[in-house]
Symmetry: C2
Subunit: 253 residues, 2 copies
Amino acid sequence: MTRFALLVEYDGAGFVGWQRQADGLSVQAVLETAAAHLAGNPVAVVVAGRTDAGVHALGQVAHIDLARDIAPDKLAQALNFHMKPHRVCVLRAAVVAGDWNARFSAVQRVYRYVILNRRARPALAAGRAWHVPHALDIAAMAEGARHLLGRHDFSSFRAASCQANSPWRTLDRLDVDREDDCVVVRTAARSFLHHQVRNMVGSLKLVGEGYWQPEHMQTALAAAHRSAAGPTAPPEGLFLVEVNYKQPVFGLL
Amino acid sequence: MTRFALLVEYDGAGFVGWQRQADGLSVQAVLETAAAHLAGNPVAVVVAGRTDAGVHALGQVAHIDLARDIAPDKLAQALNFHMKPHRVCVLRAAVVAGDWNARFSAVQRVYRYVILNRRARPALAAGRAWHVPHALDIAAMAEGARHLLGRHDFSSFRAASCQANSPWRTLDRLDVDREDDCVVVRTAARSFLHHQVRNMVGSLKLVGEGYWQPEHMQTALAAAHRSAAGPTAPPEGLFLVEVNYKQPVFGLL
């Protein structure tokens, strides 16, 4: 068997999320079906970050094992052919060691959250941003964000459905910037709790609107209870940007 | 009557183009229907640049005349309300002089054309870029583009259906740049012939692929015949970015 790492892009809008579900089409099902066509047998896809319904990926990483000997470029092309017309594609494929794991070998996940911060509802950005019509105070949001950096118990920002063993996570980055009529939140950590990014963004929005002082992010965090933080931001603004490994997997992109 | 200028964004994918047509929904029809709801009488919308089916706008400009006295912000909100759920929105509205005309007062139109230049077909950029899988030579394209700058007879780049009186146009700008996995062409002129931008891009692609030397753009131009230039690039990569006037209409954006 040869293990292949796959760099995957998808538009979250048409899917029930990464993971297979009985009630609709998942990214996993599209990819596994295409891989099974190619392999002639069922193929299980292991993924770095399971994304929720509506969440997009620019650089999701997954791996599959194939008995067939196939050049990585050909594999990517063949998978893309079989995944038509779904809005999923394999950007790169690479042969990796048999003990390399898309999920467990990952050392960092990077996400971007886009808030369309203008009066008018989105036309071109529909389904790709959270529309917040009232002006947000970016400086206050950036100040609030700094309270979450480092190693903490993130229970306040954790979904009830979260299956992680521990609520402790180390946040490497949480930046807030204005880009044209958008407010863009960029965040990175070895791993995130379920809904953690969306719950952090939902709380930062309260700071940006002036409902919370920036220091209140510290209070919310310290409470270590979901009710202490803000609401969950909607999925359509969230993009999984990249997953990093000790050794680059796909070469220079 | 009060004349209002409108700054309009739309996703071209769901429309037969700007102009009203019998066979489908146009941006003009959506906007005129919303304005008529508001005014209580039919309203004609005059536009700066009629875009084809599939072409997007980030900053289209139009004007309407209303008997009703209404604050520009309220007008924008009301139009956006009535245009739901279509992917069109009014970003700004402003009161202008009665002799100001969205089309005839415009002194410059700025377009962007996005080519997704990578092996894998688009997932997130589907309908928002022209997919060209083989690597394009950006330096050659930029060199070819320079031959079109200035005042010329652009007959080689003009659609048969073009209704302009003269094929002469003055091209202010035609830049070619790489941005991540995209090649972005930016162009500006007082006005363009029908399909001119898409025909220029279709020709530049031939240069980027090496089928044409950069100097061949000069030859194609000099022939002053449509058959001398390249094919028309597809509409989905084209964005009307902005329309400029002697005096800024919407204030600082």
